[in-house]
């Protein structure tokens, strides 16, 4: 059996460099949360289904429970903390608040990141496209409708801006 080792890594998260030591088997989610202290990334299933751990890897939504931290070297990682302005909330976050797009809030960071990437990728996404893009992010509280409304409103706001 392999003997557990710690390997030095450099991770680039939310525009900052982090030097740390990790075991190869530590998931990116665990390292973000417990080594770097970015606990906004949530772990909901560790099997790639629920989407709560979604982060952006080079701008693209990625499951941080299905990637080992050691693999994330050389990539840019963005977590919910990285899309939150220094003060207040981002337009998308504000839209989530004003549309009541969250209840318990556990799934919310993953959904925000997926939605941010969607609007960057497809600024004219319609309801069907938004639902399709978010289909890999489970929410148990909201029934999704207000999430879709919040993303639609944020899209409109971006278009106007």
């Amino acid at each position: 059996m392999a003997v557990e080792q710690r390997i030095g890594l450099t991770l680039w998260v939310n525009g900052k460099e982090h030097l740390l030591e990790a075991s190869p088997r530590w998931s990116l989610a665990d390292v973000l949360r417990h080594q770097i202290g970015l606990t906004g990334t949530h772990v909901g299933c560790e099997q790639g289904v629920c989407g709560a751990c979604t982060v952006l890897l080079d701008g693209q939504p990625t499951r941080s429970c299905l990637m080992f931290a050691i693999q994330a070297q050389g990539h840019e990682i963005t977590t919910v903390e990285g899309v939150t302005p220094t003060e207040g909330l981002s337009p998308l976050q504000q839209s989530f608040q004003s549309h009541h797009a969250l209840q318990c809030g556990f799934c919310t960071p993953g959904i925000l990141l997926t939605a941010e990437a969607l609007l960057a990728d497809n600024p004219t996404a319609d309801e069907e496209e938004i639902r399709a893009a978010l289909s890999g992010n489970l929410c148990r509280c909201t029934g999704y409708q207000f999430i879709v409304d919040a993303v639609l409103a944020a899209r409109e706001q971006r278009r106007d801006a």
Binding site: T41, Q97, F106, T108, L112, N137, C139, R140, C141
Partner: protein
């Protein structure tokens, strides 16, 4: 005069106070709590449904590097046992015997969860299998054996009948029989359970963080079961990522983690992973109902007979069994919003070798509605009548309130008929029927399902326990800012917002100047927690009562300081003024300063400071919300797929505190109902293995499974404080039945009815097979 008479915040669509911390990733959930030296737990769980533990060898586990302690029953000889109600209780760690797959046997306390899981694999447990008890009907007949040798499998049996039910059956011209089956489901909060325990460095007390809905009760459970004086236990509920009733229990892991922290003298944390969650979060909805209905030619339903059976699992969940909750309450509300005069019910709850049954949102309701609404549709089809017409014929009329149903439950006033009528209008019922006919010509099968529901809320006794009241402590500090604390245990409902809305109106302070606390037994006054749709009506009631008392005090101050009569004082926007003379005002801040620092000016008879606790016990034992859901589906009879294409809700939960939050609850409940009706099932195989142990097997609804839901509100106030009724369960009570009826309606040309939930593609093909073989 009183601000409370013309509220501004109550009823307003206020954005939630909770949101910024959640949206920015700063909210602190249980697994976000990390303190130096913290150890993590993995459990060795039973892989057998029923077996004697012949031998257990944990030496390799103990020797594994990074393992700090291993606990077995001998280290924590505690049983979760409600002795006055049940003959058995569950040992928090299995003792000589295992009774379900996933049952905790040993706890491994290690430097990290990774290491703890490595070590857990090294546990050598030798089992001697017993015949597993997995079939509910057979279990009721003690087959293949008793789950617990010293007591019968049926642990709860009850019979009830109205005096002339037999006669009513004998005289009715029409009868139908049907059997309804709901399969096991679970709440599946996105944040799984978790508990962390440590000794508080300041006081030496045991501090337990738990992802729970019932902070005070869990504190008492830990204190009572581990023999620690209650004041030596502090329970703190961090942000909770959903509960839905499932987090209302005290679980074996809670006790073991607390014990481990005491034994190791180190902080200890356990966070359930998803497989553990599916194995060991309480299950719900494992019910069979054998039903018979008697009705007249005109569609009037006269009598109902129901044998209610539930598989309670291996032990009664602590401190209440979901099987008893699901059946006994269902038996009392099985006639729903319909005026059905005669009723006979028999209840049997049995043990089995499965995970204990506990509470999941709606508890009895989704099951009872499925049956009650399924029956109405069967009556309609049998008589060739329109199902909406049969409902309108049977629904309780406005003049019948307060209405005493056949089981003796009294319904306070509601808008049963109006909700039904408005929902039909909302969904263009007549238009749909036309469209349905046209589509059938094209061999497309669309269906509409109606589900009119009643929802008993604010019950004196619920999964939140028997604490029938709620408490609110208000402190206005010397700057006039308000802190209000409650005994509630919110899991996403937004109580920090709704309770502040209520208080803002009462105290005349700005909404932003109120902070709502909950979940820390050091600050929260004693209360029942959150469950059974009680927080709005009872917690909100406590806010109203406490707010009013504090308001009276503020008025006394203002009257005294402004030299006016108390009856002339108005409050609002952080000020108190003399009615009609707004320039004669004093700020709440000045009043507060007076109360704390200028004590010679305190009006006679008032205490120093602005602090009080008030408790609210509703005078009625419950209040009923009501409403109607209508679902539209299209069934693909070639593949067995169902798409929910339309959905409408007309809901009446009394006075609304925050309509947006109410709508959020409705939408979430509809999604869970779509899951319950079409997707979610926990399956045990014949050997008692749970075969649905991942989210690839236990299917939750996705954004693409949800139609856009239309919602409308009616407001029939309760007679409780503020006219508030509870509402968080109604949407899940009604929705599975609406979907099931819609599928049945779509399949009417095949003369099929949905009798099992969830209804799967395989079942739909079964129901339409005659057609396809053609």
């Amino acid at each position: 005069m009183a601000q409370a008479m013309r509220p501004q915040m109550m009823g307003a669509r206020v954005s939630r106070t909770e949101d910024p911390r959640l949206l920015s990733g700063q909210a602190r959930f249980l697994d976000d709590i990390q303190v130096p030296g913290m150890l993590e737990v993995a459990f060795v769980r039973s892989t057998h449904a029923a077996a004697k533990i012949v031998q257990m060898d944990l030496r390799e586990v103990q020797q594994y590097p990074g393992v700090q302690a291993v606990l077995t029953y001998d280290d924590c000889p505690v049983q979760l046992w409600q002795r006055e109600a049940y003959e058995v209780g569950q040992p928090v760690l299995a003792h000589h015997e295992v009774s379900y797959v996933g049952q905790p046997i040993a706890a491994i306390i290690a430097d990290s969860r990774y290491v703890a899981e490595d070590a857990a694999e090294l546990a050598r447990v030798e089992y001697e299998d017993l015949p597993p008890v997995t079939d509910m009907r057979r279990a009721i007949e003690e087959n293949p054996r008793r789950v617990h040798a010293h007591t019968p499998n049926v642990f709860f049996h009850k019979e009830y009948a109205t005096p002339s039910v037999e006669q009513a059956f004998a005289q009715a011209p029409h009868h139908l029989r049907a059997t309804f089956r709901t399969n096991r489901q679970t709440a599946l909060s996105l944040e799984a359970r978790g508990t962390a325990a440590m000794v508080d460095t300041a006081t030496g007390r045991l501090t337990v963080y738990a992802s729970t809905q019932s902070p005070h009760r869990l504190r008492e459970d830990i204190s009572g079961l581990l023999g620690i004086p209650t004041h030596q236990v502090r329970l703190i509920v961090p942000e909770v990522g959903g509960g839905f009733g499932m987090k209302a229990n005290c679980y074996p892991e809670d006790i073991v983690v607390a014990k481990a922290a005491l034994m190791c003298r180190k902080p200890v944390k356990w966070v359930s992973d998803r497989t553990e969650s599916l194995l060991s979060d309480v299950h719900g909805r494992d019910d069979i109902h054998d039903v018979e209905v008697a009705f007249a030619e005109d569609g009037k339903i006269v009598a109902l007979r129901d044998h209610l059976m539930a598989d309670g699992g291996a032990y009664p969940a602590y401190p209440f069994s979901g099987a008893v909750g699901e059946t006994s309450l269902a038996s009392r509300v099985i006639t729903g919003p319909y005026d059905i005069p005669h009723l006979a019910t028999v209840i049997d709850c049995t043990y089995s070798n499965k995970m204990p049954l506990g509470a999941y949102r709606g508890v009895w309701g989704p099951v009872a509605s499925f049956i009650q609404e399924g029956i109405v549709d069967r009556v309609a089809r049998h008589l060739g009548m329109d199902p909406a017409q049969v409902r309108l014929r049977n629904i309780i009329q406005p003049h019948q309130f307060p209405y005493r149903n056949a089981a003796g439950m009294t319904y306070d006033e509601g808008s049963y008929q109006a909700c039904l009528q408005q929902a039909l209008e909302l969904m263009d019922y007549e238009g749909f029927r036309k469209r349905q006919q046209e589509l059938r010509q094209q061999e497309r099968y669309v269906g509409l399902g109606i589900s009119a529901f009643v929802e008993p809320t604010a019950m004196a006794s619920s999964e939140a326990g028997s604490v029938g009241y709620e408490s609110c402590t208000i402190q206005i500090d010397a700057t006039g800012r308000v802190t209000a604390a409650f005994g509630l245990g919110p899991t996403g409902q937004g109580h920090e917002t709704t309770m502040a809305q209520i208080l803002a109106d009462q105290l005349g302070v700005r909404f932003e100047d109120i902070i709502v606390l909950h979940g820390d037994t050091d600050s929260a006054p004693y209360g029942g927690g959150t469950g059974g749709s009680r927080s709005g009506p009872i917690g909100g009631g406590a806010a109203l009562v406490a707010g009013r008392q504090m308001r009276e005090r503020l008025v006394k101050y203002a009257a005294s300081l402004l030299e006016a009569g108390e009856e002339d004082i108005e409050l609002g926007d952080g000020k108190a003024w003399v009615a009609g003379v707004p320039e004669r005002y004093i700020s709440i801040r000045t009043i507060a300063e007076t109360a704390y620092t200028n004590v010679t000016k305190i009006p006679e008879g008032l205490p120093i400071g602005l602090e009080l606790t008030a408790r609210y016990l509703p005078k009625s034992p419950r209040t009923f919300s009501n409403g109607t859901h209508i679902a539209i589906v299209e069934v693909d009879v070639s593949t067995g797929s169902v798409a929910v294409t339309g959905y409408g809700v007309v809901n009446d939960c009394g006075r609304l505190i925050n309509p947006t939050i109410v709508e959020g609850q409705i939408l979430g409940g509809v999604a869970q109902g779509i899951g319950a009706a079409l997707l979610e099932a926990l399956h045990y195989d014949e050997s008692g293995q749970l075969v649905t142990t991942s989210l690839m097997d236990y299917l939750l609804p996705e954004s693409t499974d949800m139609p856009r839901v239309m919602m409308r509100h009616l407001e029939t106030p309760s007679d409780g404080e503020g006219g508030i009724k509870g509402m968080a369960e109604g949407s899940l009570i009604a929705s599975p039945a609406a979907i099931a009826n819609a599928v049945s309606d779509a399949l009417a040309p095949f003369d099929a009815f949905v009798d099992t939930l969830p209804v799967t593609p395989e079942m739909i093909l079964e129901m339409t097979r005659g057609e396809l073989a053609r």
